[in-house]
Symmetry: C2
Subunit: 377 residues, 2 copies
């Protein structure tokens, strides 16, 4: 008998209440029952996004909402600033380039957070920037960029600020309206405790005005069409009905916990994880770590890929390795979504076994005790 556990930065575990909601017979979407469910989910999303704006619900992965943000915010020939420094920052650049935009990168070394003043300098040097694209929590490096400071800078300019909040929404404070983030995109399979398949987008009045003017081709991700129809609790294209039933159930659970408790939980679990790996003599990779995921440097002489494989094949635990050029150099343990203290302790215990099995000197229990010291408080 082998139990499987998800400690990866997406997909994340789905609570049984949500699995059961998704296993209900499929509602027809053109019914008052579905419309009531959709309306409740939309209201709860406004709470989660800390916004009075509409939050669009899309049938797509998070990348689909990212593409939607680009094609609705921009027009041919636009110059855009993209904060790179990880796979998901680079994805913004790839999408913008696929649509022929002129991308001015703000390069950030992997593992570092962008200096907000570097964004300010780039904007001063390029006065005609239409939009700034940023990744709030860069999952590939475990870095949390300082979105609040970046937003304060971009707000002083005519540029729109577009944030990938796929692994930050519901993890750290992100008051979309108060900070003035013009487009916030999110996905279902992270802190929202759902399987992948839904994506979300929340636009400011400035972003909606840009969408009215935008001249890139768009159809499936035409947010103007979606806004009009979702206001009537329907979607432009057939909605992913079972995932929306799960969304309602997941948002009920999140609302029962409360935003500040959710943020405190993620912070506490991530601190415990960081304390544990440090106590095992390992080094953290991110200088400004995200509470969603802890990136750890693979110690000298250990095969980084083997850490991920042994955890998964022998211990039944899915974490994540490094992506792209980070492959074999880091591994990443998530504290994201439906996760509690015992999930952290399970992950650390398995990591201790795995490191010992791979010949790295650990004293079993050192990591666990360090985590407990944080979790006891």
């Amino acid at each position: 008998m082998k139990k499987f556990r998800l400690l990866a930065p997406g997909p994340t575990p789905v609570p049984p209440e949500v699995l059961l909601a998704m296993a209900q017979p499929v509602l027809h979407h053109r019914t008052p029952e579905f419309e009531a469910l959709f309306a409740q989910a939309r209201r709860a999303l406004q709470w989660l996004f800390q916004t009075r704006r509409e939050v669009l619900i899309l049938a797509a992965s998070g990348t689909g909402a990212m593409e939607g943000a680009v094609v609705n915010a921009c027009s041919p020939g636009d110059r855009v600033l993209v904060i790179r420094g990880g796979k998901f920052g680079e994805r913004w650049a790839e999408i913008c380039q696929a649509y022929g935009l002129s991308v001015i990168p703000v390069e950030v070394p992997y593992g570092k957070a962008v200096d907000p003043q570097a964004v300010a300098a780039a904007l001063r040097g390029e006065p005609s920037i239409a939009a700034v694209f940023v990744t709030h929590s860069e999952t590939s490096t475990g870095v949390l960029h300082d979105l609040e400071a970046i937003a304060a800078i971009v707000r002083q300019t005519p540029a729109l600020l577009v944030a990938d909040a796929i692994t930050s929404l519901g993890v750290v404070n992100l008051p979309s309206d108060a900070w003035g983030v013009d487009v916030v995109v999110a996905g279902s399979q992270k802190a929202m405790m759902l399987p992948p398949g839904l994506a979300f987008a929340c636009l400011s009045d400035r972003a909606w005005a840009a969408a009215e003017r935008a001249r890139l081709p768009r159809y499936y991700f035409n947010f103007l069409v979606e806004r009009k129809i979702q206001a009537k609790h329907q979607t432009a294209w057939t909605p992913a009905i079972s995932l929306i039933a799960g969304l309602k159930a997941a948002l009920d659970l999140l609302q029962a916990e409360g935003l500040s408790a959710i943020f405190a939980r993620h912070e506490r679990l991530a601190r415990a994880t960081r304390a544990a790996v440090t106590a095992l003599g390992l080094d953290l990779f991110a200088e400004r770590p995200s509470p969603a995921v802890t990136a750890v440097k693979v110690p000298e002489g250990v095969d980084g890929g083997a850490i991920v494989r042994v955890l998964r094949d022998k211990h039944g635990i899915s974490i994540a390795g490094g992506q792209g050029s980070m492959q074999g150099k880091i591994f990443r343990i998530a504290t994201l979504g439906y996760a509690d203290a015992y999930d952290v302790l399970t992950g650390i215990a398995a990591l201790e076994f795995t490191l010992a099995e791979l010949g790295y000197p650990v004293r079993l229990g050192d990591g666990l005790r360090a985590a407990q010291d944080v979790l006891q408080k």
Copy 2:
């Protein structure tokens, strides 16, 4: 206590085996377990599409796969032929126009099937057509276009043939390879017995060659990227994991039934439905009716919207009304996906009650007996 039943042309009922498969804890997609599931689903999809080509699995509604077909098959300035005659034929035209293609429509009156010779004539008149877009089963009118005859004509020309098979795949015979349909797109919430949220695309060698040359912007729906990654049993963007678990379960059920039995079942249920409504004195709308959905003219003096509302609100049965200009003029009863003889009889019994309640003269049981006469054979 009220039971709800889906007799709509999407979403369709989902078998309990599939609901339970989707309610399993979410697998991580970068695991041998997921890859095995994905590989099995891909092989079974080749059986369903009657193809040796790859079938791409996308996290989107069917419309997303339609957009993908356009952006991968075409380039700026291309002239394309679009067979209209219903909401979904018109959707092909809308997508092509959103991407700046030059659309030459083949107009077909609602309720009629396109004359394949009209397609041949249009192709002779326009020798530089890059692609022909057709809807196999036009859900909005209940018409089944003669895709085999159209394919035989388009095959003689350099144009690609792109077919929306969203409500025909798994309903009627569609040998993608043998007929030479260059792009076949499908969705999960029809005969595939799944909730909405997955879309599929199957391309011929000619279509893949066009995709290599294509110069429309594409990112989320870049089929070249998907093909490369799906060959390794992964997806370019996070897959809709729970729906893919359901897909495997649904394909197992379909394979156990067998293709010819599936087609015969749909044909028999649709014939019974047509016999029943005719016996009630109603007129069929489609001249070449699809076995997926039966479109019925609303009789004089009856409120077409009320038929749909009373069936839903009083009898718990979701059928579909007319869309767009057809609103109030037709109603549509599906025999699609996880449906059997007793679903048809239930729908007809409820329709008899509903018509009587709305003041239309029916003798209760006339429709049921006509349906039974077909179903007994």
